[in-house]
């Protein structure tokens, strides 16, 4: 199940990745064999609701799956190096240098006991940059992400910054070593709505500045539309639809993607009518049944949906890169989205 990408050698290749969490009531299948690629300089978004396996996939790429989780299958490759099963002392030299990550909550993700400047400096010195050089660059980085008065602010602690400013610090820290791949895990979810757009602009600029590819994890389809080239929709640990942003957002095939889009309020929505929601709850990830995970919640479900699992296949009549995992993909393609 490898995806043909526009560029011959993708920067990041994730092939059949599976992650399980061992719990007292059994293994939780957080990620169930996902495959995708990210080309150099490309922005790929992963969308899905909480618990769909987005963040765990990102942490698996970083090699930082928290215990009791572990990667049970699949391979992750960055450029020509295989990251899966790489010894930590080697993996470590890639973290922060070749792949860097921006986390959701910038307050808890920055160490409260150290000055922000020192935390940015540390990201560089740990990969061999001289301290004095790292200090100068840290100030430049802070200026580049729009922190005014950077030389003085570098001496402040995280709690002395506002939420948006903290996330700028995180972005500065992530691009410090000009990584090839930047992973941003819901970078604006914890921020005020008014700040979100600014931080996304900073992220976009930082990505360009570092000449990095961006793997953007979000549940905000508005962010996807504004930032990404391609989008992967995840549900219950699997990719259920993927394609270029235009394709997926304008002609969604999978009932789940359609549900996500329908749940999005717009200016034209009747503000008195309740927002459409996807009925039911996400499946229990303890059991990985041979069925479409959405079937119990899906109004289009037929018998085959409940007895076998659909594979990710190209959507006929559309561009070859648009794929969906749905037995009724053909019917859905005909059934236009009512706008």
């Amino acid at each position: 199940m490898t995806i043909i990408s526009e560029t011959p050698t993708p920067l990041l290749v994730v092939d059949d990745l599976a992650v399980e969490f061992a719990t007292s009531s059994g293994a939780i299948h957080a990620v169930n064999g996902i495959s995708f690629t990210v080309a150099a300089g490309e922005t790929v978004a992963i969308v899905g609701e909480s618990g769909s396996g987005k963040s765990v996939s990102a942490l698996a790429i970083m090699g930082l799956i928290p215990p009791p989780g572990h990667q049970t299958n699949g391979v992750v490759r960055l450029a020509s190096q295989t990251l899966t099963d790489m010894p930590d002392r080697h993996y470590r030299t890639l973290r922060g240098r070749n792949i860097a990550m921006i986390f959701q909550d910038p307050l808890s993700s920055l160490n409260p006991a150290f000055r922000v400047g020192d935390q940015i400096v540390e990201a560089m010195t740990t990969h061999g940059t001289a301290k004095a050089e790292a200090r100068t660059r840290a100030i430049e980085l802070m200026e580049s992400v729009g922190i005014a008065n950077a030389p003085r602010r570098a001496r402040d602690y995280p709690h002395q910054f506002s939420g948006g400013m903290r996330q700028r610090v995180m972005i500065a820290m992530a691009i410090a070593n000009r990584p090839q791949l930047l992973i941003a895990d819901e970078p604006t979810t914890a921020l005020d709505v008014t700040i979100q757009a600014q931080v996304l602009d900073v992220l976009q600029a930082a990505k360009k500045d570092a000449d990095a590819a961006l793997l953007l994890i979000t549940h905000d389809l508005g962010v996807v539309a504004g930032m990404a080239d391609r989008v992967l929709v995840m549900y219950a640990g699997r990719i259920i639809e993927q394609g270029s942003v235009d394709e997926v957002l304008i002609n969604p095939i999978h009932p789940y993607t359609r549900g996500l889009l329908a749940a999005l309020p717009s200016l034209h929505t009747n503000s008195r009518a309740p927002l459409p929601t996807i009925a039911g709850v996400p499946p229990n990830l303890l059991s990985d049944r041979e069925a479409c995970a959405l079937a119990p919640r899906c109004e289009f479900a037929i018998d085959v949906c409940r007895s076998s699992r659909p594979l990710l296949e190209a959507v006929s009549g559309n561009q070859e890169n648009h794929q969906a995992a749905c037995f009724r993909a053909h019917d859905m393609a005909v059934l236009k989205v009512d706008k």
Binding site: T93, M101, F103, L110, N111, P112, A113, F114, A123
Partner: protein, 321 residues
Amino acid sequence: MTRYIGRRILAAIPVLLLASLLVFVLVRQFGADPARTRCQQSRDLKCLARTRVQLGLDRPLPVQYVDFMGDFVQGDWGTSERTDQSVAESIGIALGETAQLAFWGVAFSSVVAISVGVYSANKAYSPGDYFFTGLAFAGIAMPTFWFGLICINYLTFHLKELLNTNEVIFFSIPNATGHGAINGFRELALPVLVLSVQLVAGWSRYQRSSMLDELDSDYIRTARSKGLTRRRVVWKHGLRNSLGALVTVIAIDAGALFGGLIVTERVFSRPGMGTLFLNALGNGDSAVLIPWMIVTGVFIIIFNLFADILYGVLDPRVRVA
């Protein structure tokens, strides 16, 4: 910071006044009669009456308290009812003895407790962690007097036989012959060990749980994502944040040690604050008891303040502008 400390010291004054009032009233009202103690428990009414007037015991209690505090704050702490020794002097000597034991006990115990706690948290639920957990529970459960005697028995007498020398390696009582660092070590080793077993047992559990909390936090993940080694993440990022809780406990415990080493000092016959208290209590010597209690109260307050200051040093979020 200076203003904050100044304010805290000022705030301590009413607390101490209240404590001293309580101590004074309770000891004078319900303790042994100082006049009788001075008259060697005799029933000589003349002696009793004379001493009462001499000590001012014939005056109302509030007047006695004000009089006592007036002298106390000026450094005139009176003399023992038993030995006529200066109370200030005996408390000074006892404090010096106890401070030595408390200092080395706290210094040694903090280093060991932090190391053990960080190790246990880092390797949580490993055999090593379970081993230290078991050891900690044994340490908490073990009575000081019993462990003290075991130490004396094995580390002085049996060790001497084992090494087949005439000289004891560790002294079980303060040794008057000779001074210097080596003798000091031989004299303090056993009481410090006994004290440390108790302190390390409790403190290492504190450090383990606060470190476990910190290791779970997001900034640890960030530090790892920057490419730091696990060792550096734990000992730099985690330790700094986890120390706040332990430092508070250490400071409060350390303050309490100045009055609370009664059993350890007794077992090792050390003339410290605990021994002074026991003797004063046994002799019904209220002239020693009252200043003793006020002094130990002062230490608890000082060390509490110390804990707050250290907490601010470790965590910039609670630093006072």
